[in-house]
Symmetry: C2
Subunit: 676 residues, 2 copies
């Protein structure tokens, strides 16, 4: 017995190369512990094992919850406390700045900055007015509601928000979301007042949800839509929105209320045989081409960024004039007709909490809240990143929530940050949220004075303006990038895309969330172990597959668990795999040198394990028992805090004779040191 062990110890030393100090040191320490007298290094190891075994109790889940709560809320409270010593005006200013960031930046606001913001705001308004009208029709509301939504929410956001570039107002995806989900409850064509009430109540709920996410610091809920899922969802939504525009572009009267591609194409096909307006189609297509060409020019020549921004307004003006002059509206070209002018009417009394649909509305409000926040925060973060400042996610949510709550009191529907208009705002050189104020004021002026001029604006132009904004939502490059990096992420993307396209908006979102979480479960519980070898010249051990240059230690099998959890779902298959591996090694050993036991120790590196459950511990006990029967000893290395605590409580550490070490190197030293 003794001879055999010392033999394997010698073969171990041969494997260790002589290139590095650290390896030589380890050899020395092993030689030391090999001698009868307890060497100081051995003593050190004993101490270090003790560190592991005597570490303080890990915080209980309850305690962790408390700490997290404290971290979230009390750091602010602490800051506030430290202000107590300050004079009262300074305290008030601090409070105002915390709630209304405008008090922070407006003190340093300069005239040159205003010049830039004014230009950006006016450019923004010229794009915003036609888009708002278009999105209102997409949401099945009267055109003025889109304009209302571009007045109040931007003003409130400018006071409370932290982003400097974001352009607030109605957006395509949220408009689609609202109409596709609410038309199932009330048909806007038969009961337009009831539908309007539903939309306002939904907006109110969405605002309440958004604000409470921010106040209770539940920002992580927004993260539950993964980036890949959003890319897929936006792409699908863009195509669905585009298909909806066929109604306006072709001048179709009877159209389906479903949003899936099959129903829409069938409705278009049916209408093509009956009644459609070729005039409308030609008009729409020619202005769509005009807008797309200006965008192309704007991309080629960065100085002409304003051209694509004002092209929609030009289209509206020119087409309205054309219709007015040719009296095309009498020949089948549908126009916007009457738009109610004047400032946003108060709509608190339109909020309807006694409706039988209240539960549905709350649910729809939640979905709208999450989708709107996702878009706003994605937009805000990416532009803040370019300018090099940080967005406070929770503050953003409170700002967006408040603007929607106030919006629902003033005839606005759900607003958020728009991808396309934010890009225009940035390109136009905005400096602060002042550009939003300029835009809101401009839209307000338009509401007061210009609505009558829009009487002859053809609906086909609105359709082509919406269509022209859609390519920005379809991000094929990003989809390819995701495909290259992570195939499962791409699956979530594709799931969301086809879910929206062939099912409905909700199905798309549901598919995306389910795939994303299924992926997490799959990766977390997939039972994996890797065999480790010593990296030449170091005391580091690494995966032998990843690092082909690593050297296996004879007589020992070193495994590392490759998942974060040793739990009911993977523990027993993990155990079986380790046993299978050992049997294989033993078989190999047997064929080579007749019936000589080749494996003496199994070192299980637990450094990846974050948690273990009772089934996991049971599997470890079983593994230990099976190993003992094969004459192999089990050694455990570097269990994390929770894991060592649980193993201790389950008396597993006692069962394996306290063979727990901090590093693999120490474990090997101890194994061979004690044996020789």
């Amino acid at each position: 017995m003794k001879e055999r062990d010392s033999e394997s110890f010698e073969s171990l030393s041969q494997v260790l190369p002589n290139t590095s100090n650290s390896a030589r040191m380890i050899q020395m320490s092993m030689a030391n512990s090999g001698s009868a007298a307890p060497a100081p290094a051995g003593q050190d190891q004993l101490d270090r094992s003790k560190w592991l075994l005597d570490c303080p109790e890990p915080p209980s889940p309850w305690h962790e919850l408390k700490t997290q709560f404290k971290e979230s809320f009390l750091t602010k409270a602490k800051k506030f406390k430290s202000l107590r010593k300050q004079p009262l005006p300074k305290r008030i200013l601090f409070f105002l700045q915390a709630v209304f960031p405008i008090f922070g930046w407006c003190r340093n606001y300069k005239l040159t900055m205003f010049k830039n913001d004014l230009m950006a705001g006016l450019t923004l308004a010229s794009l915003c007015i036609p888009q708002s009208i278009g999105y209102a029709t997409l949401a099945k509301l009267d055109p003025q509601y889109g304009l209302y939504t571009s007045v109040v929410p931007p003003l409130i956001y400018a006071v409370m928000g932290t982003s400097r570039e974001i352009a607030i107002g109605p957006v395509a995806v949220v408009s689609l979301l609202v109409s596709s989900m609410l038309t199932k409850l009330i048909d806007p064509e038969t009961d337009s007042l009831g539908y309007k009430k539903l939309v306002l109540t939904t907006t109110f709920f969405a605002g309440i949800f958004q604000a409470s996410f921010g106040i209770f610091r539940l920002g992580f809920l927004v993260d539950f839509l993964s980036h890949a899922a959003i890319v897929g969802f936006m792409g699908g939504a863009a195509i669905v929105i585009g298909l909806q525009q066929l109604k306006g572009l072709l001048g179709i009267t009877n159209f389906t209320t479903n949003t899936d591609i099959v129903s829409v194409l069938r409705a278009v096909w049916r209408s093509c045989h009956q009644q459609w307006s070729p005039h409308t189609f030609i008009l729409g297509c020619s202005f769509l081409s005009f807008i797309l060409i200006t965008r192309f020019i704007g991309k080629k020549n960065k100085k002409l960024f304003w051209l694509p921004a004002i092209a929609p307004l030009i289209s509206v003006v020119v087409s309205t004039l054309m219709v007015f002059l040719t009296k095309a509206d009498e020949h089948g070209v549908k126009t916007v007709k009457h738009i109610k002018g004047g400032l946003n009417p108060i709509s608190i009394n339109d909020l309807d909490f006694n409706t039988p649909h209240l539960g549905h509305i709350a649910k729809i409000g939640l979905i709208v809240a999450i989708v709107a926040l996702t878009e706003a925060i994605a937009v805000g973060r990416s532009f803040a990143g370019i300018k090099g400042y940080r967005l406070d996610g929770n503050k953003e949510m409170v700002a967006i929530g408040f603007m929607n709550v106030i919006g629902s009191f003033t005839s606005c529907y759900a607003a958020t940050g728009s991808f396309s208009r934010t890009a225009v705002n940035f390109a136009a050189g905005c400096e602060t949220a002042m550009s939003n104020i300029v835009m809101a004021v401009t839209v307000f002026v338009a509401l007061e004075c210009l609505t009558r001029l829009l009487y002859y604006t053809p609906i086909a132009i609105l359709a082509s303006i919406i269509l022209s904004a859609l390519p920005g939502l379809i991000d094929i490059d990003e989809a390819i990038h995701i495909w290259k990096i992570d195939k499962l992420d791409f699956l979530a993307l594709i799931g969301a895309f086809f879910g929206v396209l062939f099912g409905s908006v909700e199905i798309g979102l549901l598919v995306a969330v389910v795939i994303s979480f299924a992926k997490i479960i799959l990766i977390s519980i997939r039972p994996g172990i890797e065999t480790l070898g010593r990296m030449p010249g170091t005391d580091t051990f690494a995966d032998t597959d990843q690092y082909p240059m690593s050297v296996k230690t004879p007589g020992v099998l070193i495994f590392r668990v490759k998942s974060a959890l040793l739990c009911f779902a993977n523990a027993s298959s993990l155990e079986e795999r380790i046993m299978g591996w050992i049997n294989e090694e033993e078989d190999d050993g047997n064929t080579k040198s007749n019936a000589k036991k080749s494996i003496l120790f199994v070192v299980l590196d637990m450094s990846n394990l974050i948690n273990v459950d009772t089934s996991g511990i049971a599997a470890l006990v079983e593994l230990h028992n099976n190993l003992i029967q094969n004459g192999v000893e089990l050694v455990i290395v570097n269990p994390k805090w929770t894991v060592i605590h649980k193993l201790n409580q389950a008396k597993f550490i006692d069962k394996i004779g306290g063979k727990v070490y901090l590093t693999i190197g120490e474990a090997l030293d101890a194994c061979f040191g004690l044996k020789v």
Copy 2:
């Protein structure tokens, strides 16, 4: 700039204690790299970083799937191939042994072993006959079906199974499962033939599912019921079964078909006012006491293990005699009445695949399959563990699946390994599966000759026999143990328990599975980072909370990600937390030494990360950008195979200037070496 850095370098060296060789060595290497000439140690590090960056591509998910498939199936095929050189008879024997393990052990079977098996088999039969009749009534079938189920399945298992102790037959939980789910489809009181057909078809499906789990090596599906969930589920089911027995014990005629505690207690309460049989109750209770007392004696004196085992049979015989002699059946004591004798009738023609309930039946078959397998494998494994041999989970599943398929052809309902009878079999000293054969033969003899004697057996006795078996299913010690070790596991336990008790069997199972998986998601995505410090006297870095003796390195913040996934659900909050930590440290630094930058590097130890998705990479990019703006450099340590591959593909490694190291020690050396 230079002065400041060298200062922090010096303070770093002061922190390093001089106790250990390895630490001294590191100091030396740092001093070396501090000098202008590139030291050999620095060269080494460069090489080692290269190892990390140049490691081969990790296997694609598709490749991994293939490998796993190969591992599962081809190892067997390889073994079989190596047999090709052997003569034909040996090959046939090998094949037979693989499929029918009985050919393995029966060659070494000795007469002394048979003596033990005979005794165990007879003891088993004496317990099995009354239990089988009782469980058949629990499954709402005629009593003989319980006996049928104790004849054919044990014989087939004895030929195909690998466990030596398991006792096959009907069990309480599966009987409850069958009756509670199938009575919703057909009421056995009005259409007993149709109900019987449903039960047989369900058994057939369960067998097919079980066998295919084994053949396609899907054993892990059984693991999806966590240990804690099973403990809770069994406890709840035991109470539900016990409540069902109140019907027999009280002699109630009208009873509810629901299984939840509220409905059952209400039904009992209602009956107590109308009609119940005091004679029946007294009879049942006295024999229940008798059985429990014998069990108590058996526990105290291990040699009298046979006493509790035959107590049920004694109860049956004595009570039957009592009823026969006192003619109590004419005074309201219900008896079993006619039991059809004779061997199992063939029932292939009773399998009904044209029923409108086929989808339901398949679903119920799946649930029965999983619950039955869970019980059988748990029982088999625990006793195999005691005797020190290994069960092949997949072979077990095939054996149990086949025995149920054949069972469904021969009038048996779903059988599995019984907790209580297996314990008796083990205590009676069984040696091989031969004891199952002895038991089956004995039950067969009873079916042929003794069924007429059971005419006067009171149903209350069957109820008390079932009741006496229930305490074994309620494992309070284990529940306490689980509570101590893992609070979330205990939640799954309690969920399953109350789900069964107040909802239904299916609801209990569903609750358990949902809680178990929610727990996995929660643990996997909970965003956690730990700060690391150097363990005194080593080059190992560990959590400063877990190891209070660890020493932080000044000028550097070392973080380790505490979850296995950096994904959409936790990436951005992780990033925010790191930034918050840095700002706090900087604030601290500022207050201490006026406006001196305290943090120069952030070292992110990725050794825990198993995977990262596109959102995770985006968050890393954002973190890097934010750090750069704060004048802090980001260094990455030990990313795993998949992670480094993805980071490389996303060009993140290039972005951080290739600052990737294998260990934290090397990262620190490189940081300070390059700066000085």
